[in-house]
């Protein structure tokens, strides 16, 4: 009996050793196990890291591939510096506005008293609408608020022509209004779980202690939500900062933002120096990195309250 049991144990040990040699024989077989991941890493190196690295290197090279800072210096002149300013402005406006409005809409749909089906509808719709973007979205807004758009026609017939009051769809404001169509749903998707985390009991406790509505939000609600809010603002900023197709189609490439400037180097006939496009792309990396650097300490401060 005892022998049989021992034999079984040895057999199962041997089996597991055969299946998982790395467990028993330590490092000796490990390189073989790694071999299976070579195709994956080869692919990501070739098509993800090498391109990213070549942008970083190319930004610091001249036409003869000699090291230079002249491309980077050029970024601080017109029209490049203005493009960064506009890009950052549009991204900040749509990220902050998207975060505030998205939070309010999500809260209105989730709070007690709102029928459950509204929340379910909003969640499903947001999942889809966060993916509406680019050329189709631009057309939908041209059909709505363009010169011949349906809302424009209504307003004009009602005696109020938006273009006479300074609104153009192909301006910065028009781009921002259109971006909100994918910023709001994204915000709603991201913030809904955080709002779920706000317990009903906290509101009741605050109310019992005599807190008014605004006091609850000022001292409990917003501080608890703050880490999620900051993360969402960063996400929305990056989402808008990287956008190319929507603005390109909406403004026929006339709005001066960084992705459109980069695109013009390849789609136009002005490919005189591709290193400028690489420098512009490098600048986008830098802006995103700076945003992250600003975000991390804020996040750490905000997260103190949620512990």
């Amino acid at each position: 009996m005892a022998d049989e049991g021992r034999q079984l144990a040895i057999a199962s040990d041997a089996a597991s050793q055969a299946l998982r040699p790395d467990v028993r024989s330590g490092r000796r077989r490990l390189p073989l196990a790694w071999l299976a991941t070579v195709p994956f890493f080869a692919y990501t190196i070739a098509f993800l890291f090498a391109p990213a690295a070549s942008v970083l290197v190319g930004a610091f090279q001249d036409q003869k591939n000699q090291a230079t800072l002249s491309n980077i210096r050029l970024l601080f002149h017109q029209p490049y510096i203005a493009a960064y300013k506009t890009s950052i402005e549009i991204s900040l406006v749509t990220a902050l506005l998207g975060a505030v409005l998205g939070l309010l809409i999500a809260y209105a749909a989730i709070r007690e008293g709102t029928p459950k089906f509204i929340r379910a509808t909003l969640a499903t719709f947001s999942g889809v609408a966060a993916n509406f973007g680019g050329i189709p979205l631009a057309f939908a807004f041209v059909a709505t608020l363009g010169p011949l758009g349906i809302v424009t026609t209504w307003l004009r017939n009602a005696g109020w022509d938006p273009s006479e009051h300074g609104f153009q769809l192909y301006s910065k404001a028009g781009v921002e209004l259109t971006y909100m169509y994918f910023q709001l749903p994204l915000m709603i998707l991201v913030i809904a779980p955080a709002i779920d985390g706000l317990r009903k009991e906290w509101r009741e406790a605050a109310a019992n202690l005599g807190a008014k509505q605004w006091q609850f939000w000022r001292y409990v609600g917003i501080p608890v939500l703050m880490p999620s809010l900051l993360g969402a603002v960063i996400l929305l900023f990056g989402n808008s900062f990287a956008a190319y197709a929507t603005a390109y189609s909406l403004t026929s490439g006339t709005v001066n933002i960084v992705p459109i400037l980069i695109g013009a180097y390849y789609t136009g006939n002005v490919l005189d120096n591709p290193h400028i496009a690489q420098a512009l792309a490098f600048g986008m990396f830098v802006v995103l990195a700076v945003m992250m650097l600003l975000y991390l300490p804020l996040q750490r401060r905000a997260a103190r309250w949620s512990k």
Binding site: A143, I150, S240
Partner: protein, 263 residues
Amino acid sequence: MAPSAIVLLLLAATYFIVPLYATLAFSLKKNEAGAPCCTLANYSWVIHNPDFWHTIKISFLLALETIVISLVLFVPTIYWVHLRLPRLRPVIAFLALIPFVVPPIVMVVGLLRVLQGTPQWFYGTPWGFLAAAYVILAFPYMFFSLDAGFRAIDVHTLTEASQSLGASWPTTLIKVIVPNIRAAALAGSFLALAIVMGEFTIANLAAFHTFPIFLQYVNESAGFPAGALTLLSFLITWGAMASLLLVGRRRRLGLGANIAGRR
């Protein structure tokens, strides 16, 4: 229901619905003079346009190619990582976030530079250059989808059972593992389909004629047929997302995913 909540939700609903309605209305219009509604002429224009069929075929085949390459590349890798190299999992998860962070416009600048000088059949055709880029764009969605699928099954027991019955590695992978992660693989595939069918940035800068490029061309040249095409494009996105809901129950990324490269 609080009055403020009602007002806010109504305003939001208006903002989201009016552009969709306007697109539909445009697609049914005859001409700018405001001829009486409605006509299906724009839809017939689309159906009888050879460029439409040509580009949508390219985009669809590209989506299939992207899905096949992604699955062949990622399924064995993620399987292997779950089975033998669990310490590598966080590394790959981190790598999967990079395509999220790098804007597609930056990616294409790098790709155009690095791949310049590769053979013409690769650099000059969508099946080479674009597919290679789209696999990277799909990588985060594929990874998080598949990873959730692999975490839901017991990889070790399945593998040991299969091997003790004498199955080889390929048999184990194809006949035992893949059927168990089918829902996750399908979810990732639908996301990849939605990405490729709508991707404009990379195709435009690398000068390939895919469906979104055709849509933009019609946008610039023929206003009302563009309405019909836009609606079709929305339907493709919606269809991919609805299929996603059907194949899997709630998933980490699932419907919450937002697709890079389309904006």
